[in-house]
């Protein structure tokens, strides 16, 4: 199989994950598209050095989150939907929660998305973000608490 074919397989496998994480991290489709492209171009370059899929997944997540955090830092993004005061009924919880996630500080946002949205373990998150296990746990807890505060009107 040629490199291009292998790469296409990888893209197909991870495109949704990457795009979702990007979109939830960045909040806009433009940023998500940009970063997704950047992520996969990088993946292509390093594809030959990966043997087996285990490290690839972690590495792709790592690139994705790092690029997002970088861009957020550059943009000094103030979360758009910071103060969600208007309560919404439960059926719209999903979009409320998406907006609420946007309001999280970038670091917490990343941990929350990776753990609760994407289902990574704290160990994997620690590897992905280069933080300690314990940090991941405490950040997740803080993220959930913040979301709970933000969504208090909606949840009930």
């Amino acid at each position: 199989m040629s490199l291009m074919e292998e790469f296409e397989e990888v893209y197909t496998k991870y495109k949704v994950k990457v795009y979702s994480v990007c979109y939830r991290m960045m909040g806009t489709k433009e940023d998500a598209s940009d970063i997704t492209q950047d992520v996969f171009v990088k993946v292509y370059k390093k594809l030959n050095t990966f043997k087996g899929n285990s490290s690839l997944s972690t590495w792709i997540h790592r690139i994705t989150v790092n690029l997002c955090l970088d861009r957020l830092r550059k943009k000094k993004l103030i979360p758009l939907y910071e103060n969600i005061s208007a309560p919404s009924p439960n059926p719209w919880l999903k979009s409320s929660i998406e907006r609420a996630i946007q309001s999280l500080p970038p670091g917490y946002r990343a941990v929350f998305i990776l753990h609760d949205v994407e289902g990574l373990t704290h160990y994997e998150i620690a590897e992905t973000l280069g933080i300690a296990d314990g940090s991941s746990k405490s950040q997740l807890h803080k993220a959930r608490k913040l979301l709970r505060d933000k969504l208090s009107g909606v949840l009930l």
Binding site: V18, S20, V41
Partner: protein
């Protein structure tokens, strides 16, 4: 257990990551404490909702863009590599060639000069041969011819292949 302590460990609790002893204690506390119960419930809800968020499909044109970028970068890399390699090669070959040809040119120039002296010597030897073809004269003449051929050979090594 106090509420504070329970509250701190609630995330781990709902994730099933607390140790048995801790689990029992928190579980017991939650049965009694409404506030903590509510918090646990809400945190669990957030987690469940988050988990059920649907994955978002990227638009199709992203793949084309990615491919284009890759090709462009590859091409640029290649062109740059070839261009710089070509430049380097030209410089090296050019200087080697220059050195070699100027060395060879110098050698053949000298060889030409030498040929002139050999021509004169052969003339004189042949004159003397007419007068007195003794062993010495003959041997000298032979050596002169030999050197002349060798010098011409040296010059002829330079030329078209």
């Amino acid at each position: 257990m106090r509420c504070e302590e329970v509250s701190e460990n609630l995330s781990s609790y709902i994730d099933g990551e607390v140790k048995d002893k801790m689990e029992k204690n928190i579980s017991a506390h939650l049965k009694k404490c409404e506030r903590c119960k509510k918090e646990a419930y809400e945190l669990r809800l957030i987690k469940t909702e988050a988990r059920s968020l649907s994955p978002i499909e990227p638009p199709d044109w992203i793949w084309s863009n990615i491919k284009n970028t890759i090709w462009r970068q590859r091409l640029f890399k290649r062109v740059f590599a070839i261009a710089s390699a070509a430049c380097l090669a030209i410089v090296i070959v050019g200087s080697l060639f220059f050195i070699r040809t100027s060395q060879k040119r110098a050698k053949t120039d000298i060889a030409f000069e030498r040929l002139k002296t050999l021509d004169e010597a052969i003339e004189e030897c042949r004159e003397s041969l007419r007068v007195n073809p003794n062993a010495r004269v003959r041997k000298t003449l032979y050596n002169m011819y030999k050197e002349q051929v060798e010098t011409i050979n040296l010059i002829c090594s330079e030329g078209r292949e």
